[in-house]
């Protein structure tokens, strides 16, 4: 049981969710209420990581954030170390790759709020911010919960991208998914089986929570 790898995966999942929580809520809300012309295009771009093979994504991330790229060099100059092969690089990749999981469920749950409710809130003199906190979020929370749980579980399972921009550095980028791959190659079936079983349980719990919560999206106001 590779505890450092498990802790690394959990930390990566938690930080990804922490960053994506405000992003998912605000972006999902904006997309739900917006009626601009190019909205479909934005939704397609948001959904892109869902259909793109992780290795394609990893390749572009390396090209965009690697030592030879402008972004990579700015990062190196600012922070003194590189972006690829570090935990920060992994976190950045994880946040980008989980954008569809963070935005789509929240968008759906905001869309399920009847416009009359929002109009009533603004008639009561609430600012959009107050409306979000006191009227919309209490209604839309199942979607937000779904988004966060899915992002967390998806981060735990990410392999292709971690392999390409991570480098499998123990304690830094060697997540539990990589560790399982590593144990199999070391002919350590017991270790691989243990970690796989644990991930299976975590994934099952995550999916169950998601399904239970998603059934409540849009049902509150009948």
């Amino acid at each position: 049981m590779d505890w450092p790898a498990l802790w690394l995966s959990l930390k990566l999942g938690m930080l990804t969710v922490l960053i994506l929580l405000p992003l998912g809520v605000l972006a999902g809300r904006w997309l739900a209420y917006s009626r601009m012309r190019g909205k479909v295009l934005i939704e397609a771009v948001v959904a892109l990581p869902l259909v793109l093979p992780p290795t394609v994504f990893g390749y572009y991330l390396m090209v965009a954030f690697g030592g030879g790229s402008p972004i990579g060099q700015v990062w190196q100059a600012t922070f003194g170390h590189q972006l690829v092969f570090t935990f920060e690089g992994l976190l950045l990749a994880s946040v980008i790759f989980n954008i569809p999981f963070a935005i789509q469920p929240t968008q759906r749950s905001f869309e399920a709020i009847p416009p009359e409710v929002r109009e009533a809130a603004s008639c009561c003199g609430m600012t959009p911010w107050q409306s979000l906190l006191r009227v919309e979020l209490p209604l839309a929370w199942p979607g937000v919960l779904t988004a966060m749980v899915l992002s967390f579980a998806h981060t735990l399972g990410e392999f292709g991208i971690v392999l390409m921009v991570g480098g499998s550095i123990p304690g830094e980028t060697k997540t539990v998914a990589i560790s399982i791959y590593d144990r199999v190659q070391a002919f350590d079936d017991a270790g691989a089986a243990q970690m796989s079983a644990l991930l299976l349980v975590i994934s099952l719990v995550a999916i169950t929570l998601t399904f239970a919560a998603s059934r409540r999206i849009g049902r509150r106001l009948g």
Binding site: K11, L15, P128, W129, P170, G171, V184, Q185, A186, F187
Partner: protein
Amino acid sequence: MLSRRRLVVLSGIVSFMALAPSAAHARTDEPVIAAASDLQFALTEVAEAFKSQTGRSVRLAFGSSGNFARQIRQNAPFQVFFSANEDFIKDLAKDGFMRDAGELYAIGRIVLIVPKGSPLQADGTLADLKAALADGRLKKFAIANPEHAPYGTRAEEALRTAGLWDAIKPKLVFGENVSQAAQFATSADTQGGIIAYSLALAPKVAALGSYELIPAEMHKPLRQGMGLTKTAGATAIAFYDFAKTPAARTIFRKFGFVLPGEAS
């Protein structure tokens, strides 16, 4: 839209983020060593011997030599590189990624391995392999990927020397490194494969089938070189030197490596 609460929440998130990465870098001197997959068992033992002798630990990362060479060119934070082919070390040194041209630490061998119950025989001369191709016993054969794994390149050379390459090519299964090739070769899904001698000698692998050495004349020698990268620290240098001591050489010998200066 800019309320006080929002600012508090945002600044909380940002400071959390700022703290987390620095925790990841608060590490003691435990260098990451890049090692070719054929050293999976041998170098693990060498690292354990190093720890009991000096009390210092290293972190080992195993993979194909070609892959590590590429990553080191992208400034991957490895401090020592144990390659299965000294040419990788020399090329990296030429391009300024290593301290020096490194040195030879061992010469490897390849074996033909067949899993239990396979219709193939463990015949190192590959004569039985030739027969199996002709009479249809062979369906899938595993080697490491010759494009970036030295043990795969040598496997291809041996197969070419035996005149079998064109016939066996459609039946080949490639491991991303020689460990994965060993995984495939010892599973019930192939009839056998060509892997590193050092892996076949490990008890966990030996228990899964039978193997025989392939004559060294059938392929170019597996001259395995090691080198210190530009970021090598004190512990890394100590480990590099330890790999040349009698204690480490005994371990390499145990895993079938021929040591520089010794007859095979």
